[in-house]
Symmetry: C3
Subunit: 246 residues, 3 copies
C-alpha cells in the first residue's frame, strides 16, 4: 500500500499524474490519499504531522511524501526505512522526526542520474517510480536507491509547540504528542488558556479545549465551533505550555 | 464495493485513514468517494440525501455513512440491511428513510466493547472495520454485529420540503422525490415561483426552474447560473409546493 | 486504466457515481482522477489542456472527458482512438486538438438509442459504460460505438495564446506548447513582459517568469507567489508573444 502526503492541493492534475506514474510501475497497488494539503512549502511543520500519521499504513507500506519548495535545486532525493515502513521524498527535513523516533532506521539517497525528469515535478518523475518499486517489494538497489546518509536537522525540537495543520472543521493540530505532556497540563493559545477534555461532546457548545486527537497529537478545538477563527491562528502559530504549580 | 458518505470534508487525512482501515481488513475492495461533503452535522437532511443515492451501489454493496455530531456520546453504532445493500454508521436517524422505504429490512447494533477506539473517530475505528467485513461477505455476526432494533425518528416526514444539498454548480437538491409530486406542480423558494423543465438546455439562460435530477430528487437550478446565490439559500432552506387549482 | 477529465468539481456525488458506473461494467479497472476542475463549461480551453495531458495514460488507456455545457441537447456523444489511446465524451470540440495532432486517428459516434438515461448526466449514463467497455478491451462495436465523423472546429488555432488552467498554486497554464515557440521568446501578460526560466528555484523570490511546465505547456508563474493574483487573470485571459528583433 502507498500513502500520498503532499502539498499538491486537491485540485488539478498533480496527484492524478503521480498515481498514473505509480500504477505504470506497480499496477493495482492500493493508493491512499492521506494529505494533499499538508503544510504548503513548510517541511518542518509537515515533518511533525507526517510522523504522527506514520501508522496509517501497516508495516511494509510506503509513504510518498512531497513538500518540496526547492524542487529543481540541489537538495537530494532520499528514502528511509523506519521500523518497517518506507518514506520517499526530498531530503529537506521531512523525515527528521521519523528518523529520530524510529528504532530501526536505514537511510538511502536517490542518485541524481542524467534522467529525463522535469525540473518542476520530481514527485511524478523521480519519487513515484521509486515508491512504486518499493511497494512491489524489490530490493532498495533495484528500486534505484543507494545507501547513504541523508540531511539531518538537529536543531528542530522533539515536539513542536506550534500549529502544524488546520483541519476542515477549523481544529488546530499541533506538533506536540499528547503522551509527551503531563496528562492534565493546561495550554494557551493567543493568550487564552485551554484545559484538556476527552472529546467534543464532553464540553459545552462553543467552549474551546485541547484533547488528544485520533492520532495522539495535541489538538485545539471548539465544540460546534471553529478554533482557527476563534483564535485567528494558522500553520506555524505558537502554543504555550502553562507551567504547573506544584 | 463500498461507498463513503460522510461530512469529513475533502481536505485532510480523515477519508484516507478510513480507506486504509478498510483495506487492512478487506484488501483491494473498491471504494467509491460518494459524498465527503454531505450535510455537515445534520443527520436529518443527510438521511434524505443518502436514501436518494442508495442505488449507486449494486446489491451487495456497503455504504459507510458517517454524519456523527455526537461521536463519543452514547448514541449507538448501527447497521442495516435494506433490500440487499448494507448501511453502517451512527444510530442518529441517518438510515431512517432507507428503513422506512425498504421492502426487506434487517437491523443490527454494533456492541460497545471495551475496544481501543478513539472517542473522536468512530468512522475509522468502529465503522470502517465492520463495513470492510460486510463487503467481504462474512456473516453479520462475524462482522461484529448483533441483531436488534435501532433508534427510529417517526416524526420525520416521508419527503422533506427543504434543501438537503448544494452542489458545486450552486444547484439546490431537495429532500422531495420527484415521483411523489404531481408531474407539473409548481414550487416556490424564497417567494419566487418555479416551473418544471426537463433539463438545463430546455430553458433560457439565466432562468430558474425545477427538474427531476439524475437521482430522481426535485432540484432547483438556473441555466448558466447559481441557484444558491440567486435565492440566497443553503442546507435546510424551505421549499413550498404551490397548491394546484382544479 | 481510465482517466477522468471533467468539470464535475471536487465536491459532491458526480465523480463517485461515474466511478461506480465504470466499476459495474469493468470491475477493478484502475481509475485516475486527472482533472475534476477542467475549464468549466469551456470546451475550447479544455481541449488544449486535455491534449497536453494525453500521455498521462499509457497506450491502451481510456480518457473519459466531460465538459458538456449543452448536455441534453442534440450534440452527439463521440469517441476517438488517437495513437492508441481512447477518448470518450461529448462532440463539442473537446477532442479537436487531439484529432489534429494525432498520427493514427479513428472516430466514432455513440448512437442516440432510446435508453433510460438521465438528460442531465450523460457522464454517468452514456459515456462511463462506453469507456469501461473500451478499457476492458472489447471491440468498438461491442462497446456501443459506430464508425463515423465527429464535429470538427477548424477555426480553432493550433496553439491557443490564452490561459487554459489556473492551478492550486496560482500558476497560469496556457494553450501554447513550449516546443512551438522560439526557445527564448519573451511573453507578455496584462502588459507585463515575462522572460523564460528553467524552474522556480532559478529566479528570485517574487519574480514572475514563464517556463515549460511538466507537461510541455507554456506556464506563467511567480516564485513563492501567485501569478493569478499578481496579474489578475483567469481562464481565457490572453497571452502575447513579444516579437523578436533580429
Amino acid at each position: 500500500m502507498i500513502a500520498l502526503f503532499t502539498d499538491f492541493g486537491l485540485e488539478g492534475p498533480y496527484t492524478g499524474q503521480v498515481k498514473a506514474a505509480i500504477w505504470r510501475e506497480a499496477p493495482n497497488v492500493p493508493i491512499i490519499d492521506l494529505f494533499a494539503d499538508a503544510p504548503s512549502r513548510r517541511p518542518m511543520e509537515a515533518a511533525y504531522l507526517l510522523a504522527a500519521y506514520s501508522d496509517v499504513l501497516p508495516v511494509g507500506g510506503v509513504f510518498l511524501a512531497v513538500i518540496d519548495p526547492t524542487v529543481g535545486s540541489d537538495r537530494p532525493g532520499v528514502a528511509a526505512l523506519v521500523d518497517g515502513r518506507w518514506f520517499v521524498g526530498p531530503g529537506n527535513g521531512l523525515f527528521e522526526l521519523l528518523l529520530r523516533r524510529g528504532a530501526m532506521v536505514e537511510t538511502y539517497v536517490i542518485p541524481a542520474e542524467a534522467k529525463m525528469i522535469s525540473p518542476s515535478f520530481h514527485g511524478r518523475d523521480l519519487f513515484a517510480p521509486v515508491a512504486a518499486r518499493l511497494a512491489k517489494g524489490v530490493s532498495p538497489r533495484d528500486a534505484g536507491l543507494e545507501e547513504g546518509p541523508i540531511p539531518r536537522f538537529a536543531d528542530w525540537p522533539d515536539d513542536l509547540a506550534a500549529i502544524v495543520y488546520v483541519d476542515v472543521y477549523g481544529n488546530l493540530m499541533t506538533g506536540l504528542r499528547a503522551g509527551a505532556l503531563p496528562a492534565d497540563v493546561s495550554l494557551a493559545i493567543a493568550g487564552q488558556r485551554l484545559e484538556r477534555a476527552r472529546t467534543f461532546s464532553d464540553v459545552p457548545t462553543g467552549m474551546a479545549f485541547w484533547y488528544k486527537n485520533a492520532n495522539n497529537l495535541v489538538e485545539v478545538a471548539v465544540n460546534c465551533g471553529r478554533a482557527n477563527i476563534l483564535f485567528n491562528q494558522g500553520i506555524g502559530g505558537a502554543i504555550q505550555i502553562v507551567p504547573q504549580t506544584p
